[in-house]
Every structure is written in structure tokens, then in C-alpha cells.
């Protein structure tokens, strides 16, 4: 064989005549992406991802088809080529339909692989389920009780019967069942150590994921016991503190996570000192200052979060506050109202200046508050508070809805002359919370700690995450941020710059815009109503702080998990289009246009064909024709409407189950086994 001399990316190479640029590049450690090239198949020259530049002509050429010639000078890696490949991927993504990730996982701030743990739960393998959950969430017992269930809001099961899968209660069951006998594989501890200020959900999450990387941490908290908002903000009836104690004890069991309580920042511990003593410091101090009502006499009201904190300090008990008005419409207002119901026989009111529909509190909180006889007055705004004869007199004004404001909600405006007065023993202002940022720490315009979006770094070796960065948010959001902060800190300790993973997600759309025909169902959905938790009696609910509901049974959980329709792409782990798109920073929405709606084919007992995913690389057709020596697939139609078809649109022969070569070569899962692999 004659030898050919050429250059690829400035590298002098001698290769055999007859080889392609792609082959030679690969042999020489220069990686060129391709979706349509396969060694055992004739070339298709379809995807154009393998483009390189012939420096002599300036032309882009497909390296899979171009034979090397003597003196060739090839550019395989450059900004121009990156850009062309990115465009090719953007184009392919714009015609590709599917769901790289399930909408529940996309919605989850912690990014839990929900389909996977539901699958494990369905099989009764709850230890596996818990393991999957803990890859993303270290506090499943607590979150299993307090999560606002973003996942369920986006659950595609809604398309089938308007009821999301009860995802969170599956988590709660798995966590309750196995918490005490579960222990992660723990690496040996190294000599790095970080300080975490604030032993709430964010702080514990940072500590947990650092521990999994062999990094020690010391947690400092100003309260007598750890847990932060979980202990002092979320009432006992939602999250029993013995459950929390069980959960937090696990961290101790892991070793390498030490908690120091009654340590107030600025008094007992100094930030500068911590920064010096530890390799890194993470601020996870939460958002604990009540916002005031900004009305005359506001000092006569109790702050919502202060009220809850006090009850928490007293072990979720307290004196009868008498007739109580809570001002505000968020979850803290609900927690205050429902806690008060449990302390008094008198009326408990919630006053909110907008309508019921506009309330920021979770729907379930509102319903449960109403069940517990909390009384609501909407479109009512307090304007003055005074004390007369030992009672509080609150002056309010009626509101009506005007034009939309910046938040897109219609803005409440006072109705002139509609002022009225009400009496109460206690007024609680649950208007919102702010962050008490330590002195000398950078803050943003809302007074929250100013940490960088992509790596949670504040400055030097100081990081921050959770409510103190975002303002008051949910526990699961704090946990999501905590895990990323741990990754960022770990990178920092290695002297590396942290970059959040770039993940793409092609989506068929939100369930509200879909009908059953839009879904790819790999099995017929079971007909079953959503399993709901059993509540304790109404009397028990209003008399005590006992947990309001009971964990589902094992049988209920298994059956509930069967309701999941597994709507994410079965091929996501193997999808080359996804991998390359992430490598080349392509985006599914970069080019928007018609996506053809193809029917998927489930008629074969073991193989699913989903032509909507197909990128027309021709590999399945070629492997069947050239390697298997059958000819079962062929392109039909042409241009944008080209698709891979079978003989007279009949199902693939049953025998295909013993071959599967087409599935092997498919880069995107347009052909796949029905049975998921994991």
C-alpha cells in the first residue's frame, strides 16, 4: 500500500492510501464527531457533523467520505468548525422530537431521576429507590413531607387521567422504610475541611455531597438544635421533629460532618477567622428576618417567621394567642394560621390583599388550612394597627383588581372609602422574609448574599447558597443549590474552575398542551386513581401538632408507582445527538420550525420505532441491507418529509427480536427495545 503524507490540525501524519480523513484522524487521536458513519457500513454522508476544512481550498468537506491525498492540509478542530458542527446539531435538534428528560425531573430543583426510582419502587426495591433519590437529595424523609411537588405539577400522567403520579409520597415511603439501615459507600476522608455556617437544608446538603467526595465539614448554627427552617420554620404537624432527628442523625453516622450549635455568626464565630481556618467557607444562613407591614402601629404585630421560630423553640407548643389575624398569603402565613388553630379555640383569620387565586401559598396548604377552619378574607389590606383596652384594632381597606403589574398579576388597588376596623388579640405579619447578611459580605439589591450564578462563589474562598442567596424559597430549591455548591467547592479545592454541566432537553411540551396521541406510550397506562394519604381526624388536627397524615403502605406505593407512564426518552443514556449537542453547546430551541408528527410503532413485541426521533442517517437501512442481508427498511418520501418506512407500513418481523442490529447503530433511539435497560 502506498503511503500518503498529510497534516491534520498541524500534525504531520503518514497514512495508508485509500483511508478517509476520519479514519486517519481517529488513528492519530484526533476526535471528529459523526452520527451517520459506521465502520461496517458504506458511507451515507448525511449528518455533516464530521466536517473538516481543507485548508488549501478553504472548503468544508465531510471527513467520513473524503479520501486522504498527498499533501493534504486539514483543519479538524477550530472555532469555525465548532460553529458549523453546532449549526448542524441545532438543525437536527429542530426536527427531532422526544423528551431527553422526563418533565418531573426537569421540574425538580434537585433534578432527581424520578422515573428511575418509581421503577425501582414498582418492583418493590425501595432500597434502590432510596439510593437513586439520595444521588440528588440528602433529606428525603423531610422532603418527602414538605416538598411543594413541582414534579407533580408537570407530570404527564395528567394527560391520561388528570391526576399526577403521587411522586413525593413514594419518596416518603422509601425513606421512612430504609432510612436507618441505609449507608452510602463512603470514600476515605482527606485533609481538606470546610466550614458551613447555617445547619439548615442547604448547609447539610453541601456537607453531604462534600462528604461523598471525602471532604470534611464543620457546620455552625446559631440555634440550640440543627435543622434550620426544617426545625424552626416548618411546624411539627407537617414535619415531626423526631423524624427530622432521625434524618439528621444519619449525617453523624457518616462521619466527617460535625455540627456546632449555639454559634452565632459575628459573635461566637467570625467569618474572617473561618475563612482563614478552613479551606473554604459556605454561608447557608437562610432568610430569617420578617418584613414589616409598613403601616402605622406595625410594631404591635408579631413577625410570621419570628412567631414560628418561637413555637419551634418551645417544641411546637405555646400560650393561647386568642383571636388572631394573620396578614399575608404565602406558606409562612399558612404555617402561622394552622399553628395558631392548634393553640386556640378562637377564630383565626388570614387577610390577603389579592384574591384566593393569586395566593403564593401552595394549593394543598390553602386547602388544609380551610379544612382546619382558618377563615380567609381576600382583597383586604391592613393600613393601621393600634391598641385599645388591651385589644388590637386593625384598620383595613377593601381592594379591587386593576391593571397587570410587573409580575403579570393584576395589581390590587384600594377602594376609596371602604375602610373598616376589626379587633383581635394577636396580629401576625407574615408578609415575607429577608436575609440578615453578615457585615462585609457582598449583597445584591434585595439584600441577599451576592453569589455568582454559575458557581456560588462570593469572593475568595467564600461560597453561599440557599435562601440567603435566593430570598425565601422552598427546601428542595435550597437542596438543589446545595449540591451544586458542593461540586463547585470541590472543584475549587482542586484548583479547578467549576462549570455547571451543559444539558440539553428536547421536549414534546407541557402536558397541558398535549393529548394522549402526542405521547409515546411504551405500555398501556394502568387505569388507577391516584393514591392519597390518609389524614388523622379533624379533631386531632386542630387540637394537637401531631403529623396530619400517614405514610402510604407498601402495597399502595407499589401500585402508585405503576401509574408512571415513563415519558422520557428510553435512549437518553445512549443518545449520540444529545451527547454531541452538549459537547458543541447546541440548543433545541436555537432554530424553531415545523416538527413533523410521526406515529410511533409499537406493534412489534420487543421493538419500538419512533420516527419522530430519526435524523435520517440511513444507518438502520444500511445495516439491515448490507450486514444482516435483509432489506426491511427503506427511506420513503423525500426532502423534509423523508422517513424510514417498512414494507407497506407493516410491523417489523417478529424475528427481528433476535437481531437488533438496527437498534445498535441508531444514534438517537428512533429504534429501540421496549424494555428499558436500567
Amino acid at each position: 500500500m502506498a503511503k500518503v503524507n498529510l497534516r491534520i490540525d498541524e500534525k504531520e501524519i503518514t497514512a495508508e492510501e485509500g483511508q478517509t480523513i476520519l479514519e486517519v484522524a481517529e488513528d492519530n487521536g484526533i476526535s471528529i464527531p459523526t452520527l451517520c458513519y459506521h465502520e461496517q457500513l458504506s458511507t451515507s454522508t448525511s449528518c455533516f457533523l464530521c466536517m473538516v476544512k481543507d485548508k488549501k481550498t478553504g472548503n468544508y468537506i465531510p471527513s467520513c467520505s473524503s479520501k486522504i491525498t498527498d499533501g493534504m492540509d486539514i483543519e479538524a478542530t477550530s472555532d469555525d468548525i465548532f460553529e458549523m458542527r453546532k449549526t448542524a446539531l441545532n438543525l437536527l435538534l429542530s426536527e427531532h422530537s422526544g423528551d431527553c428528560e422526563a418533565p418531573c425531573t426537569m421540574a425538580c430543583p434537585a433534578g432527581i431521576q424520578i422515573e428511575d426510582y418509581l421503577r425501582a419502587a414498582r418492583k418493590g426495591d425501595f432500597l434502590e429507590a432510596l439510593k437513586i433519590i439520595k444521588e440528588r437529595l440528602p433529606l428525603p424523609m423531610s422532603i418527602g413531607r414538605v416538598c411543594p411537588r413541582f414534579c407533580e405539577e408537570d407530570c404527564r400522567r395528567n394527560v391520561i387521567d388528570d391526576q399526577a403520579v403521587n411522586i413525593n409520597d413514594v419518596k416518603r415511603f422509601a425513606a421512612d422504610l430504609h432510612y436507618e439501615d441505609y449507608l452510602e459507600d463512603l470514600p476515605k476522608l482527606g485533609n481538606k475541611k470546610i466550614a458551613i455556617v447555617g445547619a439548615g437544608p442547604a448547609g447539610y446538603t453541601v456537607a453531604y455531597y462534600l462528604r461523598l467526595k471525602g471532604i470534611k465539614s464543620d457546620l455552625f448554627d446559631m440555634m440550640p438544635k440543627p435543622g434550620g427552617m426544617l426545625r424552626y420554620g416548618i411546624p411539627e404537624y407537617r414535619l415531626p421533629k423526631d423524624v427530622l432527628d432521625t434524618e439528621l442523625a444519619h449525617f453523624e453516622k457518616m462521619g466527617g460532618i460535625d455540627v456546632y450549635c449555639n454559634q452565632k455568626l459575628g459573635e461566637d464565630v467570625k467569618l474572617d477567622q473561618l475563612k482563614e481556618d478552613y479551606d473554604a467557607v459556605v454561608l447557608t444562613i437562610g432568610s430569617w428576618c420578617s418584613r414589616s407591614m409598613r403601616t402605622e402601629g406595625e410594631e404591635l404585630a408579631v413577625g410570621g417567621i419570628d412567631y414560628l421560630e418561637e413555637l419551634g423553640r418551645q417544641g411546637w407548643s405555646g400560650d393561647d394567642p386568642g383571636e388572631t389575624i394573620i396578614v399575608g398569603g404565602g406558606n409562612t402565613a399558612m404555617d402561622c394560621a394552622r399553628s395558631t388553630v392548634r393553640l386556640t379555640k378562637q377564630d383565626v383569620y388570614v387577610y390577603y390583599r389579592r384574591t384566593e387565586k393569586q395566593m403564593p401559598a401552595d394549593q394543598i396548604e390553602l386547602i388544609e388550612a380551610q379544612e382546619e377552619a382558618v377563615k380567609f378574607k381576600f382583597l383586604t389590606q391592613p393600613i393601621k394597627l393600634r391598641k385599645e383596652n388591651g385589644r388590637l384594632i386593625l384598620t383595613c381597606i377593601k381592594m379591587e383588581l386593576g391593571e397587570k403589574d410587573a409580575s403579570g398579576r393584576r395589581k390590587p388597588i384600594p377602594i376609596e372609602g371602604s375602610e373598616f376596623e376589626v379587633e383581635a388579640d394577636t396580629v401576625i405579619a407574615a408578609i415575607g422574609q429577608s436575609t440578615d447578611a453578615p457585615e462585609g459580605v457582598l449583597t445584591n439589591r434585595w439584600g441577599d448574599v451576592d453569589a455568582q450564578d454559575d458557581n456560588y462563589l462570593v469572593e475568595g474562598n467564600l461560597f453561599s447558597a440557599g435562601d440567603c442567596v435566593t430570598g425565601p424559597a422552598t427546601v428542595v430549591e435550597a437542596i438543589g443549590a446545595g449540591r451544586e455548591t458542593a461540586n463547585s467547592v470541590a472543584a475549587f479545592l482542586k484548583g479547578k474552575e467549576y462549570k455547571r454541566d451543559y444539558n440539553i432537553n428536547v421536549s414534546r411540551g407541557h402536558w397541558q398542551s398535549l393529548s394522549k396521541d402526542d405521547l409515546v406510550l411504551i405500555k398501556e397506562p394502568v387505569e388507577r386513581k391516584r393514591a392519597e394519604l390518609e389524614y388523622i381526624s379533624d379533631k386531632q388536627r386542630t387540637n394537637s401538632f401531631k403529623e396530619t397524615n400517614k405514610t402510604l403502605t407498601e402495597e399502595e406505593v407499589k401500585k402508585e408507582a405503576e401509574r408512571c407512564i415513563e415519558c422520557s426518552c428510553s435512549y437518553k443514556e445512549d443518545c449520540k445527538l444529545k451527547d454531541y449537542s452538549e459537547e458543541y453547546k447546541a440548543h433545541p430551541e436555537a432554530m424553531v420550525g415545523e416538527k413533523i408528527r410521526f406515529d410511533y410503532d409499537m406493534r412489534h413485541p420487543e421493538i419500538i420505532r419512533d420516527p419522530g426521533k430519526c435524523i435520517k442517517c440511513e444507518a438502520c437501512i444500511k445495516v439491515c441491507k448490507e450486514v444482516v442481508n435483509k432489506y426491511l427498511l427503506e427511506f420513503k418520501e423525500r426532502g423534509y418529509y423523508t422517513r424510514v418506512g417498512t414494507e407497506l407500513e407493516k410491523p417489523l418481523p417478529v424475528d427481528c427480536k433476535d437481531c437488533g442490529e438496527c437498534i445498535e447503530v441508531c444514534p438517537v433511539g428512533a429504534l429501540d427495545w421496549k424494555e428499558k435497560k436500567r
Partner: protein, 149 residues
């Protein structure tokens, strides 16, 4: 298929074979695909792949009068889209469809090569040029009057 008997069983005659069937039957039925596949000894799916690539081939029965609306450049700038709309309104069918009575089918085609007479349509191969609405509707009416005979 008897029609294909004289045709040499060489793969290169495949398109010719499909053309012959279409000329005879007006369209390519599933049965015809199977027979063509038999004639050449190639898979059915391959025949389907080839015939679906070419715009000339129809898988469903066209009307008795096949109207081709030329959308070549000259016709386009002389208003072929209007010509098409006039037909859509008159016949209540869209591109590629056949009227319920099976009398007319319509499709837009690339240039018929009579650019100097734009806009043009052809009906069963006969070209009508320099169309305006009135002229076109008159032509359609004449065909309607001929009816099924």
C-alpha cells in the same frame, strides 16, 4: 403483471415499469407495487422507497381530468397562486386532492415549459395559457359539461 412482461428484468428499468403502470392505471396500487417487486425480484419496501421519491407517482386514484397548475417562475410571477386559489374555490379541493365526483384532481407542478404563456394550467396534458379567472372558469365548465363521458 402482463403489462411488464416485455420489460427486461434489469433494475434500471424500475422507474420505467412504475411509469408504465401509472400510464395504464392512473396510479400505483399496493397490488401493483407487489407485482413490480416480483417482476424485478427486489423487496417491496425498495419499490416503495423509489416510487415515493418521485413526484410523478401517485398512490391514489386521480380524477378523470387531471389539472396541473404550473408554478414555474414565469407563472408564479404572473399569479399562479391566484390561479390555484380560483380552482380551490371552484372545485373545493386542495393541492393533490380529487373532487368527490372523481371528475377533477389538481396538483401544482414545477414548470410546464410554456413560460411565455404564463399563467398556464394543463388538463390531461393539454395546456391552457394566458389565464384569467373568467377564462379558467369557462374551461372548467366545459370539462364539467363533458362530464363522465
Amino acid at each position: 403483471m402482463q403489462l411488464l412482461e416485455p420489460l427486461e428484468k434489469d433494475r434500471s428499468n424500475l422507474i420505467k415499469a412504475i411509469q408504465m403502470v401509472q400510464a395504464e392505471k392512473g396510479f400505483i396500487s399496493t397490488q401493483a407495487i407487489k407485482e413490480i417487486s416480483d417482476h424485478f425480484g427486489i423487496p417491496v419496501v425498495e419499490v416503495e422507497g423509489v416510487l415515493s421519491f418521485y413526484a410523478q407517482f401517485k398512490r391514489s386514484k386521480p380524477g378523470k381530468y387531471k389539472i396541473a397548475v404550473c408554478d414555474g417562475t414565469a407563472c408564479h410571477i404572473k399569479g399562479s397562486s391566484r390561479v390555484k386559489n380560483w380552482l380551490v374555490e371552484e372545485l373545493k379541493i386542495d393541492d393533490g386532492e380529487t373532487t368527490e365526483d372523481g371528475l377533477f384532481s389538481m396538483e401544482t407542478v414545477a414548470c410546464l415549459g410554456c413560460c411565455s404563456l404564463a399563467p398556464v394550467v394543463s388538463i390531461n396534458g393539454k395546456v391552457y395559457g394566458n389565464l384569467n379567472r373568467k377564462k379558467l372558469l369557462k374551461i372548467i365548465k366545459d370539462y364539467k359539461n363533458r362530464g363522465d363521458n
